[in-house]
């Protein structure tokens, strides 16, 4: 006895650091999880928390929780947490991992969540080889909602929606083998099915889960661990019976094992990539023009041409015409000029269903405030490069707005009242200047003069940036100037 007193003990296995000490749930139950006694979700949570601890990644882990009994990951894991809509965790995980490349993102999902409503998300995340870790908890039923059949329900297994036992003859299909299916893809790095059926299986499950997280830490790619997990409550078994059912029954339908392991072939390569990236310092901002191959003077000058701050700016322009008339470029030059003048802009092309000889149009907004929507449904300037485009959009122009129409005869049945119209054959004018394809720039000149906000220096800078051929830059500049004159002449004529 006295010997025991001098013996010293330290904690060998205890609650993981990655769990909160207490959980922010019902005040009287903050020291307990919400899981039923003997639920496999608890074991899997522990394995994940231990893996996060051991790999030292708690401060950069983001857990994506599912809908189902595993929904409350955010109660338990002291990491970043997002709870996704049913089945969408892999899509959310993709976004998280891509926008925060330093993070370790774990998608935690049940079999209803992953293999039924979320079957598309998991398939494509796996096929893209997202660098995420997926923990797939297969308990062969929808547990949270009271035990409906899942795609993974065993043949003959009773559930509230397969009361006579699942039967393909009754149109209920076969158990879906998610791991085997995903392993046919080329992108995934590691896929293993483990079970919680006995001590040995549980020990293997813990190793597999750690490995799947470690693969992500090493930047290897997509890993998924399917865990056959007891649900004593819905299975109507004691926790010990449920554990044995995993080993003795479930495993026959869902054999355990590694279905895909490309860690070796991806390993050195991925590590080299990472090392190369780390060795290369990020380029300085001042170096970007050189790297991108643009001359310093062609860069957006920001506030260099900034317009007077008291001037209100709200250009909502719709430009429409046939494909090939330069509709999109007209819009781009306009938006780019706005950008150069230090304004908020948007440019939204809208393509017709035909790739060739169809119509096209685009929306441009230029404003002092942030642009809330790039759509221009009620333009204050409509640039219609042909008659069908005029007919399509004439009714949408705001009262007091302008219609610039490419045609000397404005169709008598098109809207004139409440709007100003400038109708000229811009194509002919451009032709006279050397190339009828410059008609878009003549019309742009008129639009710029109407709006009257954008400095010519900004327009010239935008042109130089967007049009590479100097001959065209020269012609376009003349065309724009011509458009400005035409507008002024038309005012004088009134």
């Amino acid at each position: 006895m006295s010997d025991q007193a001098v013996a010293e003990y330290t904690v060998a296995r205890g609650k993981a650091k990655s769990f909160y000490p207490r959980y922010e749930r019902k005040s009287e139950l903050q020291h307990q999880t919400h899981f039923c006694p003997g639920c496999g979700h608890g074991n899997i949570h522990k394995m994940l928390a231990a893996a996060i601890d051991e790999l030292g990644v708690q401060d950069r882990t983001i857990m994506i929780g599912p809908v189902g009994c595993g929904v409350f990951t955010y109660y338990y894991f002291d990491v970043g947490n997002v709870q996704a809509a049913h089945g969408r965790a892999p899509a959310v995980a993709t976004a998280m991992r891509r926008s925060r490349p330093e993070s370790i993102v774990i998608s935690y999902q049940g079999d209803g969540d992953l293999s039924a409503i979320g079957s598309a998300e998991i398939l494509h995340a796996a096929n893209r080889g997202e660098n995420i870790t997926v923990i797939f908890v297969n308990n062969a039923v929808y547990s949270m909602t009271g035990g409906q059949a899942a795609p993974t329900t065993l043949l003959g297994q009773k559930s509230t929606t397969t009361p006579n036992g699942r039967s393909p003859a009754a149109g209920e299909g076969y158990p879906l083998h998610v791991s085997e299916l995903l392993a046919t893809l080329e992108a995934p790095v590691y896929i293993e099915r483990v079970g919680l059926g006995d001590n040995k299986q549980i020990a293997q499950a813990a190793r597999a889960i750690k490995r799947a997280v470690e693969n992500q830490v090493r930047g290897l790619g997509f890993s998924l661990i399917e865990v056959l997990s007891p649900c004593p409550t819905i299975w109507k078994q004691t926790p010990v019976e449920a554990q044995h059912w995993v080993r003795d029954v479930m495993e026959k339908t869902f054999p355990l094992g590694v279905f895909c392991d490309r860690t070796k072939e991806r390993g050195p390569q991925a590590l080299e990539r990472l090392a190369a990236r780390a060795a290369q310092p990020e380029p300085a901002l001042a170096d970007l023009p050189r790297i991108l191959g643009v001359a310093e003077e062609d860069l957006p000058e920001g506030h260099a041409h900034a317009i007077a701050p008291e001037q209100t700016v709200d250009m909502q322009v719709r430009i429409a015409g046939f494909g090939g008339q330069g509709v999109l470029l007209l819009g781009e030059v306009l938006a780019e000029a706005g950008l150069d003048a230090g304004l908020e802009v948007s440019w939204l092309p809208s393509y017709g269903p035909e790739m060739r000889s169809g119509t096209s149009n685009c929306h441009v907004r230029i404003s002092r405030e942030a642009v809330d929507s790039p759509l221009v449904s009620a333009p204050n300037v409509l640039v219609a490069m042909n008659e069908p485009s005029l007919r399509k959009f004439d009714k949408s122009v705001r009262a007091g707005g302008w219609v610039i129409y490419n045609g000397s005869e404005f169709p008598s049945d098109c809207r004139r009242e409440g709007v100003h119209v400038l109708a000229l054959s811009f194509t002919e004018m451009a032709d006279a200047m050397g190339d009828k394809r410059a008609a878009n720039m003549v019309m742009l000149g008129a639009a710029l003069e109407i709006a009257g906000v954008l400095p010519q220096a900004s327009v010239a800078a935008a042109l130089r940036r967007l049009v590479k051929n100097p001959r065209w830059v020269e012609l376009d500049e003349r065309a724009i100037a011509r458009g400005r004159e035409l507008f002024k002449e038309s005012l004088a004529a009134v």
């Binding site: 025991q4 013996a7 003990y9 330290t10 769990f19 020291h31 006694p37 813990a206 010990v240």
Partner: protein, 90 residues
Amino acid sequence: MTEATKPDRGRLRIDEEECKGCGLCIEACPPKVIALSERMNRYGYRTALYAGSGCTGCGICFLVCPEPGAITVLRLVSPGATRAAEGAAA
């Protein structure tokens, strides 16, 4: 130096408030030194109870227990030092 005086390689601490009495640790424990208590905790669970000796510190109960902190397994730090202490006492 007799077997009886040799300290156990492991020890168990069970949190009665967190244990849900599922019994998985009892089933899993190789030397069978865990049992269910007769007394219920305030949530109505008969919780796991360590017999008080015989734990080898293997940690299997921790692994099979679904609760994050219901079981803590401790291991003997320095059997050598302890044996020396035993020798001194003999």
